[in-house]
């Protein structure tokens, strides 16, 4: 009897923490961060600016009758000015949202719902972010027509194809600035001029471009632009949508409420994280040149050293027209997931964060025409403001040894070295 009661006392009840075992570190050491396209660490200067708005200046920015509200409103308006200053826009044209996904949804669905039934056609590209593609799919189910433009081998849109795709009932063109998987930069100025001359609204998802490459919404004739906070060393959960006022862009709001943010996005503004976004934009404006210089130097060093030390490596996307902080490399005869397992000391991704859970090769690489065996063996290496040269050296050293080890184990690589032609093999089982 005593032994049973002892067991009953020793056995502890099921605790909630046992369900969250993935918060315990599986590997003893911290990994070097090379996934800046997925998200970026919050800059300490941004955190410093945000904290007072979480501790003392905690008022609702829409409270017009007391000091707490005025302080919060002041912070929000200052942030709005910083964000608009970076893209040469007017502060009144910036709408704060919960992120680039929400901004993309508002832009695409809002504009087309307003233009319905006069305009029924949307043009986008095959390498857009999932939120843009899913919004377009939803519009298709509601009776709209969507053209998904193919891209060239280097990942860039063909302006001739875009001209051919334009119809009299085209209402919106949505092309992203910098792709999140391969880093290519689209010709926004040419696309903007084309859309303006055809009186079509031009939306661009600049989540990966804002604060990293110079943008001028007037020069590029952009009507709508999505901005993400956590890609520019700001906090997660905040973004913005630029909506042009001259000539006016009309859209139907997705979220109904008290009419905040010009009626386009109702809801209490999260003043601490908006202030964080504003500070991140201010820092990005002053540091853009220096950051780009550093990142280009590190990226060039990384690519040249990897290509020098390992054969059969391919850089996906255009070599020149890109944001240098996004390097997508494919290694023949070395599988992507196994490479990631060998690179435990580095935080990398083999596809975008949104699609990394599935086993399919990335749709972006497939749209580029990269064959499946290269698409499965691709790594996306993100460089950012806080990456150091020593980390790059350590990464190149580990990557080279991992790729060589995987290729040693690969029977296909042996066959390649013997000169076997893979196209002539009949792979069926007898």
């Amino acid at each position: 009897m005593l032994s049973i009661s002892k067991i009953a006392i020793k056995k502890s009840p099921l605790s909630l923490s046992s369900y969250f075992s993935n918060t315990k570190p599986r590997y003893k050491f911290r990994s070097h961060y090379f996934d800046f396209q997925a998200t970026s660490p919050t800059d300490p200067r941004v955190l410093d600016k945000m904290l007072p708005y979480m501790i003392t200046k905690q008022g609702n920015a829409h409270s017009k009758t007391h000091m707490h509200g005025w302080e919060a409103e002041g912070g929000v308006e200052e942030a709005r000015a910083h964000v608009s200053d970076l893209i040469h826009a007017d502060p009144k044209e910036i709408i704060f949202t919960s992120g680039a996904t929400e901004s993309n949804n508002i832009a695409i669905k809002g504009v087309m719902n307003f233009l319905n039934p006069m305009k029924k056609h949307v043009i986008t590209s095959q390498i857009e972010h999932k939120c843009v593609l899913e919004s377009c799919k939803l519009l298709e189910s509601k009776g709209f027509d969507v053209t998904y433009l193919p891209v060239q081998r280097n990942g860039i849109i063909d302006i001739g194809e875009l001209k051919k795709a334009i119809r009299p009932d085209t209402g919106l063109v949505s092309i992203m600035g910098v792709n999140n998987e391969i880093g290519v930069l689209q010709p926004l100025k040419e696309i903007g001029n084309l859309c303006r001359s055809n009186k079509i609204k031009f939306h661009t998802d600049c989540a990966q471009m804002f604060g990293k490459l110079p943008i001028d919404v007037n020069d590029m004739k952009i009507d709508l632009m999505s901005i993400s906070g956590h890609k520019i060393y700001g906090p997660k959960g905040v973004g913005a949508l630029y909506v042009r006022r001259r000539p006016r862009v009309r859209l139907l709001a997705l979220q109904s409420g008290g009419g905040q943010e010009r009626g386009i996005r109702s809801g209490t503004l999260p003043s601490p994280i908006i202030v964080g976004l504003g500070e991140a934009a201010r820092i990005a404006k002053s540091e853009m040149e220096r950051d780009n210089r550093r990142i280009k130097k590190l990226a060039d060093k990384l690519i040249s050293q990897v290509m020098e030390k390992i054969p059969l490596v391919q850089l996906n996307g255009d070599k020149e027209k890109r944001y240098h902080g996004c390097v997508n490399l494919s290694f023949a005869f070395a599988e992507g997931e196994s490479l990631l397992m060998n690179l435990k000391d580095f935080a990398l991704s083999s596809g975008s964060a949104c699609t990394s859970a599935s086993l399919e090769p990335s749709y972006v690489l497939r749209a580029l025409g990269v064959p499946d065996e290269y698409a499965h063996s691709s790594l996306r290496i993100g460089l950012g403001r806080f990456t150091t040269e020593k980390e790059i050296d350590f990464f190149v050293e580990t990557l080279v040894t991992s790729v060589e080890r995987l290729r040693e184990m690969s029977p296909l690589y042996d066959m390649y070295l013997e000169g076997v032609d893979f196209t002539k093999i009949n792979w069926s089982h007898d």
């Binding site: 570190p25 911290r30 300490p44 955190l47």
Partner: protein
């Protein structure tokens, strides 16, 4: 010796000297900039996070070296630069403290 009251001449002489001294001491010297650079780099070296530590050290060195080499004569610009860097130093001090409150694992090569 009888004490004489200060005359108008003495007052104007004193006023001129005070303005001269004020202007002389409000001018930011290269020595003050070097000192602020040294303090900033010292404070930035206290970050527990490796990436922040290296970034803020390199940035302080780059910014100060570029500015000092320019030999800016406009005192307003120099004062603005000095004030900006001083307020950034305060930010760095606060964030170093916050970093220490939330310790994290080390990298494999830091061990």
């Amino acid at each position: 010796m009888s004490l004489t009251l200060p005359t108008q001449k003495t007052f104007s002489f004193l006023q001129n000297t005070t303005t001269l001294l004020k202007n002389h001491f409000s001018k930011i010297t290269t020595k003050q900039l070097e000192e602020l650079k040294k303090t900033t780099v010292e404070e930035a070296s206290k970050f527990t996070n490796y990436n922040f530590r290296e970034y803020f050290k390199e940035r302080a060195n780059d910014l100060f070296d570029d500015f000092i080499s320019k030999n800016e004569t406009n005192e307003e610009y120099v004062k603005q630069f000095y004030d900006d860097r001083k307020s950034e130093l305060e930010v760095i001090k606060r964030q170093v403290l916050i970093g220490k409150l939330y310790p994290e694992q080390k990298f494999v090569k830091e061990n």
